[in-house]
């Protein structure tokens, strides 16, 4: 099986290096990306939506030009094991998802996907084998159109200096930066970092 333009061996090596291990979700994500890529019009410039932050974003970042930092990959965290490649302009997209209606004969995939067993009791070797054996048959595909507000290029707008912490931030956030409005991820005594 190929993953994007890579052989299985290459992709597994890339997954291990980038993600830390060849996780089931990386293999599944790699197959989903490949299935979507085969269906988007040739030469279309596409962006990616992943509907979960688990694993799928890394498959997208390995197999497409889209990353979190370049803005072409968006995580819309619905907790569904699904991803969409869509045309940047029109929003027309191909959505691929792991279909729970198609996994009945793969017990380890079912245990993993629906969390029917604690992770420790799952057989990870058999899980990988079943994912590879199943190939493309456990996924389904929707044609979708992405909401227009998600198509516009992200923009910070103009930059202000926060009166509280002294750092630069997007002026549209208000009179101070969001951290100084209480959204800081840090515990702090004095000045808000």
């Amino acid at each position: 099986m190929n993953f994007g333009q890579h052989s299985q061996e290459e992709y597994f090596r890339m997954a291990e290096s980038f993600h830390g291990r060849v996780a089931p979700g990386l293999i599944i994500g790699g197959i989903m990306i490949t299935m979507a890529q085969e269906r988007v019009p040739k030469d279309s410039l596409y962006d990616v939506i992943c509907e979960t932050s688990y694993c799928l974003p890394d498959a997208a970042q390995l197999l497409t030009p889209c990353t979190i930092g370049n803005g072409w990959l968006r995580v819309v965290d619905l907790g569904r094991f699904a991803l969409t490649l869509y045309d940047k302009q029109s929003g027309d997209g191909i959505r691929v998802f792991l279909d729970k209606g198609k996994i009945d004969k793969y017990d380890e995939i079912k245990n993993w996907f629906l969390k029917l067993k604690p992770k420790k009791e799952q057989d990870s070797n058999q899980l990988l084998e079943q994912i590879l054996d199943a190939g493309r048959e456990i996924y389904s595909i929707n044609k979708v159109r992405v909401q227009p507000q998600l198509l516009s290029k992200r923009s910070k707008g103009s930059i202000a200096i926060c009166a509280a912490c002294g750092e630069a931030y997007p002026a549209k956030h208000g009179a101070t930066c969001l951290a100084c409005q209480g959204q800081s991820p840090y515990l702090t005594a004095g000045k808000n970092p």
Copy 2:
């Protein structure tokens, strides 16, 4: 200048391949990651917070084991050009930020960072030169402690099947999945994909 364990040439090649181009934010992010890495205790297992989705997450994904998909990198989108490496257990972290108080003598960095000029009028070659010339002198460092609720391992909890769309989703989201509760990124006529 080194970027993590890579030479500048190597890192630039990695940035171009992963991010699409050697963007100013990737170079700045690479320097920030490197400065933080030098200050976290040796052998500590750290996670990363990026305070913006622009560029910095890609520097983190290239230079650390932390990615969006493996859960060790979190984007807390405050719109500040800052990142933190913090101990997974204790939450003690090193936060590095581009310090607007230190960029006065670098006009192109100032134009870019504070958006004083439209992008078209900025001189991108000079910007890159100034970033490399400035080296580490335009950043500041805070010691921080990350909020305890950000330290716990992310968990989906148990999985339910959505009564509306039929897909698997985290049961904690409610009686139907978040897409079917109105958070779908897609325009749809019938069944909610």
